[in-house]
């Protein structure tokens, strides 16, 4: 673009309305970031620590060691969000990861989203057992101690509830935070035993095409899993981010199916029945099936679609003043690696390619970053992701046009955040 015809657009701009190549951060440093940057939760005035004064915490030694650390007390407002449960229950519902308050790609275990169908069971690992039976040559029972002796693998991968982002299927855009809308996705390092090893020991019979996985929670939550997926990459996970699973994530053992809709990674796993056909459980027929506008429903919609969302700026993180900002977000796909994320600041008229932060892993959250000089005018921020299969994240219009507004699951459309001259950020359909 000849700059003479558009004198107000700096040469480093990669798309309209202020999107800049990220090297601006490297060449000009952080001094250009808008005064105060994003307004998050106020951590209180630190005026007494400004130079030349000496802060109080330097005048005496701090506290001692602890057996198990906690977040800083100034961060105690960072909590799971959007906690809802079925009427009359406390444990049949969901809580969401506050995506807008996190950075990087690993979700702290205590902020991992939750989706329970009958509460979190209190399981004593010394008496918990895993039974493998059905179309096998030798039905087997395992103690947890026995399973922990098997060779393990570790993988950094996301898990997403297929009901994630459902609020955006409503006719008008809900006024909610990024986490409240999209926070049914989290990413951890999972460590455990490939389920294929145990099935080989049990000796699958020839008709074995599926298995039923059942949890030890009160509703004995259960799903049918294709044997091909199990032999590909299914894990019996025991560790999350280096420590044993949290109770709400399936302690002492859960199934983990990379890229597949979250509820199939059955928590508190107690039984695996090898079968010839799907069992057609409640949670693969009456729930977790996607109702189309035609009245017909899609069943067994397993991989989560390619998706991205800008986590900052986003609702609740107002811009304080015009200036240079980093647009940051997350992208992921249940079918492999993210290959490209583009960002628009002008409502999808022009797009610029964002930088993908390492590591870029298959079926993991991938952090993207983009530089943006906000001129104080209105803007509509969007991101769109592409994965290694070539799949491109759809617009909301495309998704709703294809499938209607009653699918309930697998909503992966482009998110639009409207930025007002006041700096306030809102969920918009634009």
């Amino acid at each position: 673009m000849p700059s003479s015809s558009t004198p107000s657009i700096p040469p480093e701009e990669v798309a309209a309305n202020g999107l800049l190549h990220r090297r601006i951060f490297l060449t000009q440093g952080v001094a250009l970031i808008g005064a105060g940057g994003l307004t998050v939760l106020s951590a209180g005035s630190a005026a007494a620590a400004d130079p030349p004064d000496m802060p109080p915490w330097m005048r005496a030694p701090g506290t001692g060691m602890s057996g198990y650390g906690s977040p800083a007390k100034y961060e105690e407002k960072i909590q799971r969000t959007g906690i809802v449960s079925q009427p009359g229950t406390t444990g049949s519902g969901a809580s969401r990861t506050p995506l807008e308050h996190l950075n990087g790609v690993i979700t702290p275990s205590g902020l991992h989203f939750e989706r329970h169908h009958g509460g979190v069971p209190d399981i004593d690992p010394s008496v918990h057992r895993l039974l493998i039976h059905g179309l096998v040559k030798r039905p087997l029972v395992f103690t947890m101690d026995a399973l922990l002796r098997y060779p393990m693998v570790s993988r950094i991968q996301f898990i997403e509830c297929s009901g994630n982002s459902r609020p955006n299927l409503s006719p008008t855009p809900p006024a909610a935070s990024c986490g409240a809308i999209h926070g049914l996705v989290s990413c951890s390092e999972w460590t455990g035993v490939p389920l294929a090893i145990l099935l080989e020991e049990a000796g699958s019979d020839r008709g074995a095409q599926w298995l039923l996985a059942e949890g030890a929670d009160a509703p004995a939550m259960s799903r049918s899993i294709p044997m091909a997926k199990v032999m590909d990459d299914a894990l019996l996970a025991f560790y999350q981010n280096g420590e044993r699973l949290r109770p709400e994530n399936g302690y002492p053992v859960r199934l983990f199916l990379p890229g597949y809709e979250g509820n199939m990674s059955v928590k508190w796993l107690r039984r695996i029945k090898v079968t010839a056909v799907p069992t057609m459980t409640k949670d693969e027929t009456s729930k977790y099936t996607d109702l189309l506008a035609s009245g017909k429903s899609l069943m067994f919609t397993y991989p989560m679609g390619v998706k991205s969302v800008i986590t900052a700026p986003s609702p609740g993180l107002a811009l304080k003043a015009p200036g240079l900002y980093e647009i940051s977000g997350l992208a992921w796909s249940g079918s492999g690696k993210i290959t490209k994320v583009e960002v628009s600041a002008d409502g999808a008229r022009t797009w610029g390619e964002a930088a993908l932060a390492e590591p870029v892993l298959s079926k993991a959250l991938t952090r993207f970053r983009m530089a943006w000089r906000w001129d104080g005018g209105p803007a509509v921020l969007k991101s769109r992701a592409r994965d290694e299969t070539g799949a491109l994240q759809p617009t909301r219009e495309q998704l709703v046009g294809d499938k209607g507004t009653q699918i309930s699951y697998h909503y992966n459309a482009i998110q639009s955040w409207g930025v007002a001259p006041s700096g306030e950020v809102k969920n918009v359909y634009a």
Binding site: P139, E201, M280, T285, T289, S297, Y302
Partner: protein, 179 residues
């Protein structure tokens, strides 16, 4: 005799190979063989062909009494819903703007009703119902939805044969279509 012993050798070799495969010599092999009684106690899943359904049975009339005592406070009178899921009605609404998904309008398999009620309901006391109670509740819910007649007996033989109204309106997304 020579031919026969050769055949025996071949058969033996096959058997040995199968056992070797089954025992997965490379694995730690730390599982203990499960007994039929152990499996029987835990194997509560019921697929559409009804295999594994227990003895017993029930009718809608018997189910109405169980429902009133153990289900109505969460699912409303005659399955009308509130405060929790509606279980009855909604047929003909799925293609409209406000679809109502119930056992009658949406669930493709009647066996799933038995499986789910037995494993998960009542919410506060899972797996507390007798098999006769679960059969009766299943009959009651199917009858309220107009799927079976009031006097029909639901048991291991009849349940898999129940034809659910929405059975043919599901499109399998797995396995993925070859390109």
């Amino acid at each position: 005799m020579y031919t026969r012993s050769l055949a025996s050798c071949v058969a033996l070799a096959v058997v040995v190979a199968v056992i070797a495969q089954a025992r997965a010599a490379d694995g730690p092999n730390l599982g203990r063989e499960a007994t039929p009684a152990e499996i029987g106690g835990w194997d509560i899943s019921i697929p559409p062909d009804g295999s594994g359904l227990p003895p017993g049975g029930g009718t809608a009339a018997a189910g109405a009494a169980v429902y009133a005592a153990k289900c109505q406070s969460c699912h409303g009178e005659k399955g009308a819903g509130q405060p929790n899921d509606r279980l009855v009605g909604g047929q003909g609404t799925l293609a409209g703007p406000t679809p109502v998904r119930t056992i009658g309008s949406y669930w493709p398999y009647a066996t799933t009703v038995f499986d789910y009620v037995r494993r998960a309901m009542p919410y506060q006391q899972a797996q507390s119902l007798t098999n006769d109670e679960v059969y009766a509740l299943t009959a009651y819910l199917l009858h309220l939805n107009g799927v079976i007649a009031e006097g029909d007996v639901i048991n291991a033989q009849t349940l898999p044969k129940v034809n659910m109204p929405n059975r043919d309106n599901f499109i399998l997304a797995y396995p993925p279509r070859s390109r």
